[in-house]
Amino acid sequence: MFNEVLHTIPQVLIDGLTLGAVYAVIAIGYTMVYGILELINFAHGEIFMSGAFIGTAILLVLTGIGWVSSLPAIVMLIAVLLITAVLTGFLGMGIERVAYRPLRNAPRLIPLITAIGISFLLQDIVRFIAELKKGNYIVTGPSLFTHQLSIKASSVSSIFNDATIKTSFVIVLVTAVIMMIGLDLFVNRTKWGMAMRAVAQDRETASLMTINVNKVISITFFIGSALGGATGVLFAVQYGTIDPYIGFILGLKAFTAAVLGGIGNIRGAMFGGLLLGLLEMFASANLTLLSHGIFGAEYKDVFAFIILILVLLFKPEGLFGKPVTEKV
């Protein structure tokens, strides 16, 4: 049995890293907002979904005027990613301005409920527009990357099976990694990144150090949402079919990833996302085998959430978080 599990490793790694990268980038959005406002922005999953729809809409329009076939797919993708990122970035910033800023000093539960409300609102707006334009809220976009690659892992060692990957897998992974590196540089190297960290630690002191707190919060929402929206496009390119409800479960998993890594910690969120993706794909490939057919691959979500519960039980601050000691 052990050998059979080993056989699946190359494929699990590839699928897991790709899915994990998607989780990681969305988890960053949760963790950044939490770090700065201590607000769990449940609308973030819907920003991701809106990104998927905006990206697909752009691709469909471009297909309609015949640009998709005439331009290289990668150029198309980059253009769509950028446009979507900017649009969802402004969407996130707008949501913060309208729905969260007026509640900045309200008890914490109130903006949380607002976030859930915004999340339903976005789902229904997107569903409404999709049905209006396409007659159905389940939308299938044009496929940009259909090429398949095969990795001969068996030639490295006979215990591994060969793995196959779609080109889009590689693109999702590479784009996500670029986004994560970019963000890490931004947060640690730029003046606004530093301002962001300062605001996260002590908003009032930061404002007394010439930092415009509202602007920093807006930038945080812009970046988090731009990354989330761009990931939505990647998701749409990768899986083809999207509906207005994809943001819910994916958002929940990304939130899990953020908690796993220690909420508020950006590198933790990246790691948590990748780990969760790998675990989930591992479960999906091997649960049947390990449980002798009692649990099928569809239990992978259960597996992921069991991990979350275990982490919360034994290390509530997350893998990279620091325990907060109560000051007396």
Binding site: G182, L185, F186, R189, T190, K191, W192, M194, A195, R197, A198, Q201, D202, E204, T205, A206, S207, L208, M209, T210, I211, N212, V213
Partner: protein, 258 residues
């Protein structure tokens, strides 16, 4: 020449009056102290000047420009920075980064420059780091530059707060109980540091302090607050002998006994 002018400043929190009709003029390049018993409204007064609280009535003028209604970060950009009664550093950031946060408005590098690592950005980053390092050297913390702020000793954290406040290139530096919790040796060093900074950075220093030895030694002008009102102002020697001040601090019995 006056740099900061406060006219009839009042602050009410519901029924509680924290400051009542406080007026004062702070001379440019002076060291001025605000003293008074606990709860006299000194920190509230600082909070109004820095824009944390909006005054209920009265006006604040910095070089004849009104500061009322401005957000704290704008007040700080105009040239007033401060330290806190309870140390408020960015504990999880390094000593050097804390100072660099203070320079926030003076940095220009944008996202574009960072992403493409433009030469101008690199130059600016380097210049900022050098300037921050020089400030750390100035307050004697250069050997701790990569240490997390929370790992510094108490006195060192106080000095780091001062360095961070100076980093914003202020015209006026507000120090809220800078010597609190310091031993006599540290207090003496601090006294010298404040004087040195005033001369070298062309600063105006306004400080709240309970350590009378420090206050009498350092300040050129003293304002005394009690129950939110200004009860006296003048040179250290005048304040020392002012019966109203003695009464506020020691009770009315002390005046008659003395």
């Amino acid at each position: 020449m006056s740099i900061l002018e406060v006219q009839n400043l009042s602050k009410k929190f519901g029924g509680l009056t924290a400051n009542q009709d406080v007026s004062m003029t702070v001379e440019k390049n002076s060291i001025t102290a605000v003293i008074g018993p606990n709860g006299a409204g000194k920190t509230t007064f600082f909070n109004m000047i820095t824009g944390v609280y909006q005054p209920t009535s009265g006006i604040i003028l910095l070089e004849n420009e009104k500061l009322n209604g401005l957000k704290p970060h704008v007040v700080c950009q105009r040239g007033i920075s401060r330290t806190f009664q309870n140390i408020r550093l960015f504990n999880e950031m390094t000593v050097l980064e804390n100072v660099m946060v203070g320079m926030h408005t003076h940095l220009k590098a944008g996202l574009f420059g960072i992403l493409f690592n433009l030469p101008t950005t690199r130059k600016e980053e380097l210049a900022t780091e050098i300037k921050a390092y020089q400030l750390l050297e100035y307050v004697g913390l250069d050997s701790f530059l990569n240490e997390k702020a929370c790992n510094l000793s108490y006195g060192a954290q106080r000095r780091l707060e001062i360095a961070r406040a100076i980093a914003a290139s202020p015209k006026i530096l507000l120090l809220d109980e800078p010597a609190a919790g310091m031993n006599p040796k540290e207090t003496k060093e601090l006294t010298q540091l404040i004087k040195k900074m005033r001369d070298e950075f062309n600063l105006t220093v306004l400080l709240i302090e309970h350590d009378m030895k420090l206050v009498m030694e350092i300040s050129e002008q003293i304002f005394v607050l009690d129950h939110g009102e200004k009860i006296a102002e003048g040179k250290p020697e005048d304040i020392r002998n002012n019966p109203k001040v003695i009464e506020a601090y020691l009770g009315s019995g002390a005046v008659h006994a003395g």
